[in-house]
């Protein structure tokens, strides 16, 4: 498929010879957006900014760009963690063209699922959520893909350190119908396969190993304009990861360990935009969104005993999925000069399918193996209707109020919950470049991520609220001052947020969280977060520089872990991000991103108790009682673009992750030296990673 797309793109490129206007057309006036919206905590990021930031392994990444923003903690290094205002990482609503996505990363969180080639813009809300959004506690990431040109073809091919990308957009019927298509695929498996085969030949006496990993995703959008007031959009997102590994050895018996994992998402939608009149327009969206995984492993070890075979074997498979079928209507109505009313509703059918099977066998010489089988299936479904209304009221020339309410319900079998979520935001334009904002929002979340770990694993499952694990609710107040003189943006924003009903895994550590009666291995608690965020940005013609600073606190209260409140895992007291770009000359740009934050919290034994025999017992006073060493890292990149004779662009990107090779602590433990003294020992994993990519766009 990739080859076909590349061929098509090249052919179209030769025909069109059009100069690129795509990027500039997408650049939005961030400053204006910030000043004009009533909401607090909103960041709009355009495609240009996305492409010029956080190019880990040569591929720009939306989630890693969001991780640099104030009020957001990144969690474990290189992962796609997004812990917003003290959130848990599983409480962010990701919308792709209005369709919720449950799984937003590839390769356990190393890459996000969003292909920046097709993304037009994204709105990121950390507070002040408008009533039209709901279903998650901590943030909304509303990603919109581009429609594609109605008159010209554009596209590009890019080859990065670990993946290749192709993008094509243009008219299907001029001025009437357009398409926008993007495809990515990693190519590590193509390289590693012969390497593994070579290694096996070199080590003929040792075990035979095999393994491969591949990820791919496809975005497609088709837009049809019926008229100036009516258009239809159809979108598809498909993403898939596959990881296989095995090891076999035959020596006085047989040993085998194999893992086969496939996971991914599919989201399809059709949206009809219709302008009823100059004062009223609406959008009807129907969608299907599914995320699923299939994880299996097998293990066998046996040896020859008196000519027979003795040993044991195990096969384990775990298939999980969640899907939504939704119908949603959103309307914009301007009843007068001082009102902008938005209203709408949605009905969503949630399906949850999880199935686990295992077979254990005991191999006895000269007898049939003794086999035991087990498993469980916890498939179920739920219905979630919701409705909202919000009104942007222009109270005075310098005073705007956005007030609204969102009503939602969730029905899971015989259990049902409902929620009324008030939303209010106010903006006071003090004078032309200075405004103040204040907001209050309540959010509810009915779906829970059943995960034993903080990392994004294929074995994680989404499950509905149940009697034992009800909905989660957050309340947040935010406010700030926003100053935008000339080319500068200076914001100072504060927030206070409480969360209740949040869940934490309280079972024995394992990759597989339980599925049947999963609630009994989770404990419910509360969270509290507050802090201040600062943004200072200069947007010059050649130089752009942003400084973000967060002073934050994040607390948890889980009675099962401690009778007293304790810091959250991602309670990073200080966080600083400095990002910048410098257009050195036409076609040559330099960019960098420096990250600093107080180390993530870890739990270490706090005390030693001397026992009867002089033996020492280590005891814990509180969870997350210590901080890892401070985290800091510099990423830098250089973009060189050259126009071809046909007017297309040939680009080279050199990116360096962790430029000064500072090994940041990934984990830590307690060690005791020869002098008897206990000390902390952290371990760093991620060194400098230089990457290189080339691209051709037209």
């Amino acid at each position: 498929m990739a080859a076909a797309l590349i061929a098509t793109a090249t052919a179209v490129a030769q025909e069109t010879e059009k100069r690129d206007t795509l990027e500039t057309s997408f650049v939005t006036a961030v400053k204006e957006k910030m000043r004009n919206t009533t909401q607090t905590g909103l960041m709009r990021i355009d495609s240009e900014k996305l492409r010029r930031s956080a190019a880990v392994f040569g591929t720009p990444d939306i989630v890693k760009t969001l991780q640099t923003l104030p009020g957001v903690a990144a969690g474990n290094e290189l992962m796609s963690g997004l812990y917003v205002h003290g959130g848990d990482g599983n409480d962010n609503l990701f919308l792709l063209d209005g369709v919720p996505l449950y799984n937003i990363s590839h390769f356990g969180g190393f890459f996000s699922s969003f292909n920046t080639d097709v993304v037009q813009s994204l709105d990121f809300y950390k507070s002040g959520f408008p009533a039209r959004y709901g279903g998650r506690l901590s943030s909304v990431v509303d990603v919109e893909t581009g429609e594609g040109g109605f008159n010209e073809y554009h596209g590009g091919v890019s080859l990065g350190a670990i993946d290749g990308r192709i993008h094509l957009s243009g008219p299907i019927v001029k001025d009437r119908c357009s398409f926008n298509l993007g495809y990515r695929r990693s190519w590590m498996d193509i390289v590693t396969k012969p390497l593994i085969a070579w290694a096996n030949r070199r080590n003929a006496d040792g075990p035979d190993s095999d393994g491969s990993y591949a990820m791919s995703d496809l975005n497609a959008r088709v837009t049809y304009k019926f008229s100036g007031r009516s258009r239809l959009n159809a979108s598809v997102y498909w993403g898939r990861d596959r990881l296989r590994a095995s090891m076999e050895e035959e020596e006085d018996g047989f040993t085998r360990l194999g893992i086969n994992t496939v996971w991914g998402s599919l989201a399809c939608s059709a949206a009809w935009d219709y302008k009823v009149s100059g004062a009223l327009k609406g959008k009807l969206l129907g969608y299907y969104s599914r995320s699923g995984s299939d994880v299996s492993y097998d293990f066998k070890v046996s040896q020859k005993v008196h000519g027979g075979e003795s040993g044991m074997g195990m096969d384990d498979s775990n298939a999980g999925s969640v899907y939504d079928i939704g119908l949603k209507y959103d309307a914009d109505w301007y009843p007068g000069a001082s009102h902008h009313v938005r209203f709408g509703g949605a009905a969503v059918w949630h399906g949850y399918g999880t199935e686990r099977n295992y077979t254990q066998s005991t191999i006895i010489p000269y007898m049939e193996p003794v086999v035991s089988r087990g498993g469980d299936d916890s498939s179920c479904h739920a219905i979630e209707p919701s409705a909202y209304i919000e009104d942007e009221i222009f109270l005075r020339y310098n005073l705007t109020l956005n007030a609204g309410v969102r009503l939602s319900a969730f029905v899971n079998g015989s259990e049902a919950w409902w929620s009324a979520e008030p939303r209010a935001a106010m903006k006071w334009l003090i004078y032309k470049d200075l405004c103040a904002k204040l907001s209050y929002t309540r959010m509810s979340q009915y779906n829970h991520l059943v995960s034993a770990m903080y990392i994004d694993l294929p074995t994680n499952s989404w499950m509905p609220s149940t009697k034992g694990a009800g909905p989660m609710v957050s309340d947040q107040v935010a406010g700030g001052l926003y100053f935008t003189p000339g080319r500068f943006i200076v914001n100072l924003e504060g927030w206070y947020k409480t969360m209740r009903g949040i869940l934490s895994y309280n079972g024995a550590n394992a990759f597989y969280p339980p599925l049947v009666n999963w609630e009994k291995s989770f404990t419910s608690g509360r969270g509290e977060s507050y802090g201040l965020e600062f943004e200072g940005t200069y947007r010059g013609k050649e130089i752009e520089l942003s400084v973000y600073y967060t002073l934050g606190w994040s607390w948890r209260e889980f009675q099962a872990y401690s009778a007293f409140p304790f810091p959250d895992h991602n309670d990073n007291r200080h966080k600083i991000n400095i990002t910048g770009s410098w257009k050195i000359s036409e076609g040559v740009s330099l960019f960098f991103n420096w990250n600093y934050h107080t180390g993530n919290r870890i739990t270490l034994p706090s005390h030693v108790v001397i026992g009867p025999e002089g033996d020492t017992g280590l005891v814990f006073q509180a969870p997350y009682n210590a901080s890892l060493p401070d985290y800091h890292r510099l990423d830098a990149g250089l973009d060189i673009e050259k126009r071809t004779r046909r007017g297309n662009k040939l680009g080279i990107n050199v990116s360096v992750y962790n430029l000064y090779n500072h090994l940041n602590a990934s984990f830590a433990m307690l060690v005791r030296g020869s002098d008897g003294k206990y000390s902390g020992m952290a371990y760093g994993l991620i060194p400098i990673i230089p990457t290189f990519s080339i691209s051709y766009t037209f």
Partner: protein, 342 residues
């Protein structure tokens, strides 16, 4: 444990590839008192108070013993002082008081302690009433009748957020005929007490769910402490594991045998004449504090992944304000002895 094999392999590989970064953790704790008191109505419970030195101090490095002569301890039940025996037993930096006079269920228990150089500690708990066990039945299952289904029925469904613990005590008595080389014959009876393993007590559904948590258990001796040897395994349960008013599990009808403790005389002939197995099922109600502390003690065995920052630290429970440890309570209801039907 099979589920831990893969994460352990992966994380070991990561650890081997990692680079060491020593870091300072000097100031995360001050000297404090560690308390363990699990009051159990009907039993003379003991109280342990220990001096805990900050883990990263020179004091801890030297394994130094503390001066605990000025340790002060007070316990009250519903505001009334509880008499504490004056001469505690000292082992290392532990002071063990008791056994205290048995307490009644339903009271509010408060413990305070102080030692110069340590913050004063305070902890409270409610002593729960024993669960209202209506019946315990055992039914043989399977072709060989080797499996016993045990059904524990309460007078009503447990309240939400109720916490329990369960143990099955097996009392086995065996009779033997012993013929010595000189022809002397005698009959002897031997008895032994065994505790069913957590895997036995876990319900069938728990086993199928591959949930290691179903096996959450701690070692506990009645009126004593957990995790310090002695006693038997105590399986932890919550109301979520009950089906209405019932909790069912299966145990295998083991071939328990109680035999002579010493090797018989050379040439002696021993003939097993028969035996009897009696089961006692003890269901405890646990205070929230006792349950959380026991669960944390169990989960300490699985804390490996928490060091990697990828799982919650669920092994840290304390309700002792100003210090560490637990003040909790548990009340047991004994059913049996029951002779398992054939």
């Amino acid at each position: 444990m099979k589920l831990l094999r893969i994460p352990a392999l992966l994380l070991s590989a990561l650890a081997l590839a990692a680079c060491e970064i020593p870091f300072s953790v000097e100031n995360i704790s001050e000297p404090a008192l560690y308390v363990q008191y699990l009051a159990s109505p009907g039993f003379g419970s003991k109280v342990m108070v220990a001096y805990a030195s900050p883990a990263f101090s020179q004091e801890a490095a030297a394994d130094a013993l503390a001066d605990m002569s000025n340790l002060s301890l007070r316990i009250s039940l519903n505001g009334e002082p509880v008499l504490i025996p004056e001469e505690p037993q000292r082992t290392g930096n532990y002071m063990i008081f008791g056994p205290l006079a048995p307490l009644k269920a339903g009271g509010r228990l408060e413990l305070g302690a102080s030692l110069p150089g340590c913050p004063e500690v305070l902890a409270r708990t409610e002593i729960p009433s024993p669960p209202a066990v209506e019946s315990v039945t055992m039914t043989p299952e399977g072709d060989e009748e080797e499996l016993l289904k045990v059904n524990v029925r309460l007078a009503g469904a447990p309240l939400e957020d109720s916490r329990f613990a369960l143990r099955v005590i097996v009392r086995r008595t065996d009779r033997y005929s012993i013929t010595l080389p000189d022809g002397t014959e005698s009959e002897k009876e031997f008895s032994g007490t065994f505790y069913e393993t957590p895997e036995q007590i876990a319900s069938t559904a728990d086993l199928a769910s591959l949930d290691l948590d179903a096996f959450a258990s701690v070692n506990y001796e009645e009126g004593g402490f957990i995790g310090r040897g002695g006693g038997g395994m105590l399986n932890l349960l919550t109301d979520k594991q009950f089906n209405g008013a019932e909790y069912s599990f299966h145990i295998n009808r083991h071939d328990y045998h109680a035999g002579p403790e010493q090797e018989p005389e050379a040439g002696a002939k021993i003939t097993h004449l028969g035996g009897e197995t009696l089961y006692s099922v003890v269901l405890y109600s646990l205070s929230e504090e006792a349950y959380n502390f026991c669960k944390a003690a169990y989960l300490t065995n699985f804390n490996m992944l928490s060091n990697f920052g990828v799982t919650p630290p669920n092994f840290t429970y304390t309700n002792v304000k100003g210090g560490l440890g637990v003040v909790g309570a548990l009340s047991g209801a004994v059913s049996g002895p029951i002779t398992a039907p054939r």
